[in-house]
Symmetry: C2
Subunit: 370 residues, 2 copies
Amino acid sequence: MPSDGSSNKRVMRWGILAPGGIAETFVGDLQLDPATRGVTDVAHRVVAVGSASGQKKADDFVKRMYTTKEQVEEAKAIRTYGSYDELVRDADVEIMYIASPQSHHYQQIKLCLNAGKHVLCEKPITINAEQIRKLSALSKAKNLFFMEARWTKFMDIFREIVKLVHEDKILGHVYRVHSDFGQELPEDHRLYFPELGGGGLLDCGIYPLTYLTALLWDHPDNQRARPRVTGSMRISPKFKVDEDSTGVLQFDKINATGILTVNMRVDLHRPAFHTIIQGDKGDILVHGTHTSRPTAYSIVLKGQKPVTKEPHIPGHGFFWEADECARCIVAGKLESPVVSHEESIFAMEIMDEIRKQGGLQFPEQIERAD
Amino acid sequence: MPSDGSSNKRVMRWGILAPGGIAETFVGDLQLDPATRGVTDVAHRVVAVGSASGQKKADDFVKRMYTTKEQVEEAKAIRTYGSYDELVRDADVEIMYIASPQSHHYQQIKLCLNAGKHVLCEKPITINAEQIRKLSALSKAKNLFFMEARWTKFMDIFREIVKLVHEDKILGHVYRVHSDFGQELPEDHRLYFPELGGGGLLDCGIYPLTYLTALLWDHPDNQRARPRVTGSMRISPKFKVDEDSTGVLQFDKINATGILTVNMRVDLHRPAFHTIIQGDKGDILVHGTHTSRPTAYSIVLKGQKPVTKEPHIPGHGFFWEADECARCIVAGKLESPVVSHEESIFAMEIMDEIRKQGGLQFPEQIERAD
């Protein structure tokens, strides 16, 4: 954890809502010295943690995450709460990190924004597009920063790939992008529960969709023109959520097709490349066991020897999105251009359409936007 | 070419209709000695060749294909015709091999069957399901053998893969099969012409569909139960055929998904595996630059070192389907159980559905079945 004494460093004060597994990864990344990733303008500090399952769970989280002598000292200043209502009233918290399942995002983001907190919320941002549209309007009305935690987009490797395709145009005309997220999940995993907004599409599909969105929807020649969308789902008769989903996005304006596939029963392609970007000059294959966390990519140009690049990632990689939040807030921005409200709304609209065609409806209490 | 003198060998007498590129490959395979593939019961001889573009084209074909001293001698017995009407009247021809574009199959198969010839016809067998249903009925009425030249299904490597999945069950429960056929085709290729039944789906898509059909529709637990089908197409505004198509087949009875993708603008995945079969115990990856001609496969079981098998293929691989035709005819069968009429009809029904959803209609003169 960097010292707060640095005169030029703006230290963002975070509140953690729902201290589970994903919050552990996030806070672990916040604890890394920003200098290890070449960042000197911002830093991060957790000042409060709240659990809906009682204060002890929040205390345990802090104990678990702050273990070195220096961390234990730092943790003494962290306030813990047994309810979110108390957490959001903590005046010292600037920005809330929401790490709950998607079923709870809509209500919790509203709670945070209404309490005057900036918000970074885990993906998928909501259950449907209506919810995110309302939240976007609320954040603007409240003059608060609000972003979906689509961390992959902030990774150097992801930005490199997009630059190679859009600016350097090394693949020529990109005709097809296929991005897949397959993972074998045990049957007690939260994604098997419809009341938590489970199923493969929303939770895992957001990453393949992130590739298609960045590469095709946001293609300089496409200018965010909307694709035609076709969706197919295989819904588990036992669990009532999608075990397998496919979305095909036809970008007629740029003569390109995006395919997203997701599966909760089988792991990623072995050997694992999860995304293939195909142009008339060659392909880029993106590697990694999780589509959310690309670790390397291969450039395979026609008639040339493949080149594989594996950039160093100094941690899990959540810190980049945290840095972005801090910088946007310092600059008075209400949203990031990297994961804009428009992009989050677009993604949820695509998800809505695939679910509509696939026949997946979540329980009314998590679909509503009131 | 094997000697016809062998007493136990039944030599099938072929007529070649439309002597173009694909017929060259087929006849090249017929010329190989069956002993090189361990076959001793049947052999093949071309006895007639007919071209609709004039007898000279048929003559040129024979000249081109029969070049060694022995072959030149053999070719003297081959009759050539400048029309298909004459060709099918050749009393010595037992079975016609139809190598024309799919737009012409329906009328030509009818011509051959009505002339009393058995038929092996290139894939896709027709333009739509109505046409193949009528042809199946006609072949039965005429008591003639009739088969779609879906040669891939007769290859040892293909049969090995199906056996590993269905009988040996080495992948456990198969949850997903994705088969892709991408090839970059020049803009003067016949597949850019709608009046020839062009586009990626019918011509290239039949191979990915062959994998899904063999592995899922014909899965012992599925018993040919019909899948739900979703189709998406990107139709070239310039050429009015599909450059990119996707079909998703949901086999709810066996909790499995089949995905077929096809693209006329980009080559297959580099490094090229075109088909991935994913089960809860691992994957099989099928390799080859063309989905039609698998050359190797890798078995990637969880926690085990991948094993790659590359069976020897003693030629291009068309001879196995020719052997099957010969054996069926000798046995008095009207269809082969490997590529049954039911399977060809099923495939065309899937194609019809994908085209309907994708919005691709061919000119009336090739869609009709009268």
